[in-house]
Amino acid sequence: MAYFTQQLINAITLGAIYGLIAIGYTMVYGIIGMINFAHGEVFMVGAFISLIGFVICSSVGISSAPVAIVLVLLLAMSFSAVYGWAIERTAYRPLRGSFRLAPLISAIGVSIALQNYVQLAQGARPKPGGQVVSGGFNLFTADGFDVRVTWLQIIIVVVTIVLMAGFTWVIARTSLGRQQRACEQDMKMASLLGVNVDRTISLTFVLGAALAAVAGMLFLMYYGVIDFFIGFLAGIKAFTAAVLGGIGSLPGAMLGGLLIGLIEVFWAGYFSSEYKDVAVFAILVLVLIFRPSGLLGKPEIEKV
């Protein structure tokens, strides 16, 4: 029971990170129907900017952890958002209305280019850092097993919940959210009614990239080490989460992220850690075969 609870806590933490990345996938898919293959790379860039931000903070003498976290969070969000904007502007926008596979190929190209760019600029070796929060407390002890919750896990879950709540509010209540949903339903009609479609799509990428950057920062703080390749696996897992929850659905992405975190951690905890990624991919395949619209998604209707 204690072991189970401990795994559950770890799983929720991991699931929160996946959920944040998954939102970027699901929003972009919802609005322009493409899989933004480079999204995992934006997450990786966000993690690197956070790493650099933490080193800057420590070198200018900011020793208070909350201040450093907030500063780095803002830094990573804003500069990763520029990446999201620039990728959309240069690699995807010229291809809107082109044939179906073109944006996906372009996205794969962006992903390869970004990985090698970061590898060239920052080196291929794993980088340690970002461990500004340590410690935790024992929740309870049972069967001689301490169930621990670290402060960091609490921070991760709280930051995720706050961001997701804020984000849901943006989508549901603000005029930007209304425009975003309008474009999602019918881009042409929305543009006829005076919605600036280009700007809305750009903002979707900006928001998705900012959330991915937060995920990157939390990932860095949680694992304490990153390299230029983390975006690939995390990206695919987050995409799996988005599909599992129902691609195009925001609550679905959060739910899917949580479930993927659970599957991964419990598989590693109870079966084998070598095959935990296989388990995640197998889930992706199974969901797509048996319930392609995901848990909370709407089934796609084929129109001729």
């Binding site: 899989i35 860039v45 790493l51 070198s59 372009s106 794969i108 280019a113 990985q115 095959y275 797509l288």
Partner: protein
């Protein structure tokens, strides 16, 4: 320079600003280990960044000038950039010299592009140009084939060139195989390398464990890969487009992870070594014959030369690739081939006409997988060592890029794209990681400027009205 100049300056300034924002942390602050395993410190590259930003400003300005028809200023700017890049002036890094010079070259090309393409299309419209174009489209493939067959006998065929030739032909074959799946049937497969891996491991295991020869295993490996294709494809081929892409990507990763972790069978990350090479009528390519075998030089009565093995491999892969090509050409004339292309164009209409989409897709998937299996066992026989490292996602992406950049469904396009994407980077191997960066950027650029691929025009397989009889064609 006209009233547009302030606008252009503003646009270039914005671009440079965005570039600075993109680069400031990742490029400007390079993190380095301080040693002792405690923390990181910075190695500042802000001057590099500043130079790059200035170059981007000038480049963007030149591009908008070229786009507005102000050709000469753009050419002057481009020429200045080339001169700056090639000059002995000391920039902070060698990469920046390349960056500046290549930027200048691109700018000049962009500036003279409208001229060049006008001149080209005007030349192609003259009677001799038309005849030339016709002859080219008929003979170009044969010329390429002739060059490929004769290549080992030309003086350029040293070991490096032959190695490169074998590599390019391997990718041509993989591209042609994937072309069946992506180009003809329109199924986006991001896990094609999985079938390549199945073929490679099939040959590696059967030859090292059971002593079977290359020519025995080759069909078996193809069958095995096709079987994998059917087993994996059957449940997922109902899915459309993007979903299929991600599921195949998932399958590719699953197979790689299984190869990596199933120590008893695959020896895990250490891989399988000392795989025997292919034999010529039972004779092996070696200086001294192993027990009970004959070497090729003994059999043919010629002096031993290390290059013979390479030339033999070259012809094997050339033959395999040609089989793939011929097979595809023939398939396209059969009902199932027509059904693939019809399915690619409109699945719903096909269903309405009584084509079973799942079975049709499955044949394409399995046949594509079979050719990957052939290529895989060739790869294992050539390398004599395989490990899961060779079958990562990036390989699938490269093969897919070859197909798409070539112009989906175009067989010659695949050859051109393979030469471009595999040949050029190999020549520039010294550039190290820069070549993969350039590879990714090239994928984006080609998609943006030629989304239909290098050879975008493809003859339809069938016409309602024969060409020239007044049909809309």
């Amino acid at each position: 320079m006209g009233p547009r100049l302030p606008l252009m300056l503003k646009d270039a300034g914005l671009t440079a600003f965005v570039a600075a924002a993109l680069g400031i942390f990742i490029v400007g602050f390079r993190t380095v280990d301080t040693g002792g395993g405690k923390g990181l410190s910075f190695d500042y590259h802000l001057v590099d960044l500043a130079v790059a930003v200035v170059v981007i400003f000038i480049g963007r300005l030149g591009l908008s000038m070229a786009a507005n028809g102000q050709r000469w200023p753009a050419i002057v700017l481009g020429g200045a950039m080339i001169a700056a890049g090639a000059s002995p002036m000391k920039l902070p890094s060698g990469f920046l010299h390349w960056f500046v010079a290549l930027g200048g070259v691109l700018l000049v090309i962009r500036a003279i592009w409208p001229w060049a393409s006008d001149a080209m299309s005007a030349a192609a419209r003259t009677p001799s140009g038309l005849a030339l174009g016709k002859a080219r489209s008929r003979w170009f493939g044969w010329l390429l084939l002739g060059a490929a067959v004769l290549m080992p006998f030309t003086p350029i065929a040293d070991q490096k060139t032959m190695d490169l030739g074998v590599l390019i032909l391997t990718y041509v074959m993989l591209g042609w195989g994937l072309n069946i799946v992506v180009g003809l049937a329109g199924l986006l497969d991001l896990g094609y390398v999985a079938f390549y891996a199945v073929g490679a491991y099939a040959y590696a295991l059967l030859s090292t464990q059971y002593g079977l020869g290359f020519w025995t295993v080759l069909p078996l490996a193809g069958m095995m890969a096709a079987l994998f294709g059917i087993v994996l494809g059957f449940p997922v081929l109902r899915l459309r487009g993007d979903y299929l892409a991600i599921v195949t990507l998932g399958f590719g990763e699953i197979i790689r992870l299984v190869l990596l972790n199933w120590f008893d069978l695959t020896n895990g990350p250490a891989g399988i070594g000392s795989i025997p090479g292919p034999t010529l009528f039972g004779a092996v390519f070696a200086e001294t014959p192993p027990a009970g075998k004959q070497t090729v030089s003994e059999m043919l009565g010629i002096a031993f030369d290390g290059n013979h093995r390479l030339i033999f491999l070259y012809y094997i892969i050339l033959g395999l690739a040609l089989v793939t090509n011929l097979f595809t050409q023939r398939m396209r004339r059969l009902p199932v081939g027509r059904a693939w292309e019809a399915l690619r164009e409109d699945e719903t209409a096909c269903q309405a006409l009584g084509i079973n989409p799942t079975n049709t897709k499955l044949t394409a998937f399995a046949i594509g997988a079979m050719f990957a299996g052939f290529a895989g066992s060739f790869f294992a026989a050539k390398q004599r060592f395989i490990s899961p490292e060779s079958f990562v996602f990036i390989e699938s992406a490269i093969i897919l890029a070859i197909v798409v950049l070539g112009g989906m469904g175009s067989q010659i396009g695949v050859v051109l794209a393979a030469v471009l994407l595999i040949g050029l980077p190999e020549w520039f191997r010294d550039l190290g990681n820069y070549r993969m960066l350039a590879f990714g950027l090239a994928m984006v650029l080609i998609m943006v400027f030629r989304p239909r691929g290098l050879i975008s025009h493809r003859e339809p397989s069938i016409r309602l009205h024969p060409a020239g009889s007044g049909g809309s064609g």
